[in-house]
């Protein structure tokens, strides 16, 4: 480097006001987390399936329904399969979107009968794609059996739908009756109350029955990492599938690996891991309180990386914690346009103390902030019920309706902030 270039570089470095250059946390290195985990768990998830095995099970399932000697033989052959192998074959089958035969739907009850915990991620994904109502009931029932309440909503929807077949609605009720916790229900009204409470509990805490579960098996961890691997896909569908599943698993099962994945060397894996945590909402904060995991402390080092900073704030907002709000106040001041927007949104979702509200008051008119950021701060100040001058109409016009609605929803959800409910 020439002397002149050195001078220029030094001068430039001293003059450039980098985004939070003075007190940015130390950078942690990105590492191939996903690759390492996939190697660690290789061959430990569900066993692989070949076309011949799939065809064999199809035929056995068909024959088993015939009754008589042939039916019994077929049933015995099905019984000879290990639960793991049979589940793997049945999952492959129900995932075949080109198979529209009614026989395929019969795979679900058998899957329920022989379920092993590691089917959870792939079975959860069936909730996104399966259209048949009876199949949805079987999926929900199997998930409940595995301690997952993501299918409760499907059961409620079936019960609510007056156009659905009476037989199907009865099936849904039978599943509820057989579910632990619903034994006390004397009639439909009781079941309905219990179901509504269970759905609310699931959506807020991701717990069903016992608040905590035993550590996941190696096979389930392997399947969870296989699901996380979809986050690196360039086509969006596998990414969306993974986010759908991971955000519907119990926090104990999905949050720790997602937190690990936020340090992956692939921008897509870490960004989508952060995004999934953000989509989970305050349930992340509830998990954090329950497990003392130090969610905010684990994510804070990532703020050193400008490239993921806005997304880190989105994930931090799910904690609903005062520590996240403190970081948001800091970066609201020193963050760039995008970061400051995410920080303002985080503050809206996490503000606890007078200092947090004061920061919102002080910054809501700052012209260097984006219209979205100003809208978030405005909503936060509004939530204190104090009289606030309306935002200039120009700012309002620049925040599209969808973004306003999103922030109004966050504002309304403040009542469910994890720390609030504990205080």
């Amino acid at each position: 480097m020439t002397l002149r270039a050195t001078f220029i570089c030094l001068l430039a470095l001293s003059c450039t006001k980098g985004e939070g250059s003075s007190s940015a946390p130390e950078k942690t290195a990105w590492t191939p987390v996903l690759q390492a985990r996939l190697e660690q768990f290789q061959g430990q998830g569900l066993p692989p399936v070949d076309e011949g095995e799939l065809q064999n099970v199809r035929e056995l399932l068909e024959s088993s329904r015939l009754g008589g000697r042939l039916g019994k033989m077929a049933q015995r052959s099905l019984d000879d399969f290990s639960n793991e192998k049979l589940c793997s074959i049945l999952l492959d089958w129900v995932e075949d979107r080109f198979d529209n035969s009614p026989l395929r739907l019969r795979a679900y009850p058998l899957l329920r009968e022989r379920a092993v915990p590691e089917i959870l991620p792939r079975l959860l994904l069936r909730l996104k794609y399966e259209k048949d109502l009876s199949a949805n009931i079987a999926i929900a029932a199997t998930l409940l059996q595995l301690g997952n309440g993501a299918g409760l909503q499907a059961l409620q929807n079936i019960l609510l739908d007056s156009t659905s077949d009476e037989r199907v609605r009865t099936q849904a009720l039978l599943v509820l009756d057989a579910t632990p916790g619903f034994e006390s229900a004397k009639d439909f009204e009781d079941s309905w109350q219990l179901l509504s409470a269970a759905i609310m509990n699931w959506s807020r805490f991701r717990t069903f029955g016992k608040p905590t579960v035993s550590p996941p098996s190696v096979a389930l961890q392997a399947e969870t990492w296989n699901m996380i691997a979809r986050l690196q896909s360039q086509p969006l569908r596998p990414v969306d599938d993974a986010r759908f599943v991971l955000s519907r698993m119990r926090g104990e099962l999905s949050i720790p690996p997602l937190l690990e994945a936020t340090r992956d060397s692939s921008i897509y894996v870490r960004e989508h891991a952060l995004q999934t945590l953000a989509w989970m909402g305050y349930t992340v904060g509830e998990w954090d309180l329950r497990t003392n995991a130090g969610f905010v402390q684990k994510l804070t080092p990532l703020l050193a990386h400008a490239v993921v900073r806005p997304r880190v704030f989105e994930a931090l907002a799910s904690s609903g914690s005062p520590e996240a709000a403190n970081l948001a106040v800091e970066w609201l001041q020193k963050g760039n346009y995008q970061t400051a927007t995410a920080a303002a949104d985080c503050l809206l979702r996490c503000a606890h103390s007078l200092e947090h509200f004061q920061a919102a008051r002080d910054n809501r008119s700052q012209e260097h902030l984006s219209p979205e950021a100003r809208w978030s701060l405005y909503l936060l100040v509004m939530s204190t019920t104090e009289k606030v001058a309306p935002l200039p109409s120009l700012i309002l016009e620049q925040v599209p309706e969808g973004e306003r609605t999103r922030r109004s929803r966050w504002s309304a959800l403040r009542a469910q902030m994890p720390m609030h409910s504990r205080r």
Partner: protein
């Protein structure tokens, strides 16, 4: 003067020059810190006007998109409808969503902001005095930049698979800009690239992509030729469909309903019973339709739909032909 002093004098002079060049820049140009595309609109009013009419500007506000994405509650749609600058990502890889100014859709920075904070341009002699410090970035014009969003449904792959020449004449332009950002002249005689991104929402663009022809002989011969779109027709969103329909008229003035002869469309993933019937670049589709007895004329039309359930009234008529019995 002693020869030994010369190096000292030269060093002193050099040092002074370095100091001067650092401390006194040749001209005071305030460098703009680019944070939002709103900053671009002020100086680039002509370009802004073109862009404001484009579907890039409309990417977030489009009611059809809002409906499909539940007003962007489905956040995965944000990645392409309110993207971060494409130049921050590896060429050809997809973009991720930004947090601010989402209402501006695919805004100026989505294409023009570089990692170093400069503004990228394809102009080989950028204006060094402009406050936004434009910098020539050839990658901006490469199909990989558009692929970040437009290859989710393989449009750029289709373009790559298209022959460069058709009937001995150049067919596939060197990049997407060739057709979608043709040369434009702006106020003051300035030359630039048209930022209205004319494509499937523009009749002229649709007509330059395909030609519909019909011939009444023993049968009604229908032909649709993709001679202008160097990718499939229709392309990109799976929801897009082009329907070719006919309507026969009888001597007494009565006529049949519109009868759909063919639908050009890449079906949704769960429409497993349907095939991809889009028409690749350079290819021709033909069909022979039996002529009903007593028919005296026929109307033929090609309707372009932005979603397959769109009514005929809302669809875009690309071609309407009328043939009489010879």
């Amino acid at each position: 003067m002693k020869p030994i002093l010369w190096p000292a004098i030269l060093l002193a002079l050099g040092g002074t020059w370095v100091l001067f060049s650092i401390l006194i820049p040749p001209e005071e140009i305030e460098t703009l810190q680019i944070a939002s595309s709103r900053q671009c609109l002020e100086c680039h009013a002509d370009v802004a006007k073109e862009w404001e009419e484009s579907h890039h500007a409309f990417a977030y506000k489009n009611p059809e998109v809002r409906k499909l994405s539940q007003d962007f509650r489905n956040e995965e749609c944000l990645a392409c409808h309110a993207p971060r600058p494409v130049l921050l990502f590896e060429p050809g890889t997809r973009v991720l969503a930004r947090n601010a100014d989402r209402g501006m859709g695919v805004d100026c920075l989505a294409c023009h902001l570089t990692e170093s904070g400069n503004v990228a341009t394809t102009n080989t002699t950028p204006n060094s005095k402009a406050p936004c410090k434009p910098k020539t970035v050839p990658r901006l014009a490469e199909p990989e930049s558009c692929a970040a969003c437009h290859n989710q449904h393989k449009t750029v792959d289709q373009w790559r698979a298209t022959p460069p020449k058709l009937n001995g004449k150049p067919f596939r332009g060197e990049n997407c800009l060739h057709c979608h950002m043709p040369q434009a002249w702006r106020s003051g005689g300035r030359k630039g690239s048209d930022h209205s991104f004319r494509a499937s929402h523009d009749l002229e663009a649709l007509q330059s992509a395909v030609t519909l022809s019909a011939n009444w002989e023993v049968t009604l011969s229908l032909t649709l030729q993709n001679h202008g779109a160097a990718h499939n027709f229709p392309t990109d969103e799976r929801s897009r469909a082009a329907d070719l329909a006919i309507r026969w008229s009888q001597e007494d003035g009565s006529h049949t309903d519109w009868l759909r002869q063919y639908r050009f469309r890449d079906p949704y993933r769960d429409e497993t019973e349907l095939q991809n019937t889009t028409l690749p670049g350079g290819e021709t589709w033909n069909s022979e339709v039996p002529i009903p007895e007593g028919a005296v004329s026929v109307q033929v039309r090609l309707l372009y739909r932005t979603n397959p359930f769109q009514s005929d009234e809302d669809a875009f008529p690309v071609y309407e032909l009328e043939l009489k019995r010879p």
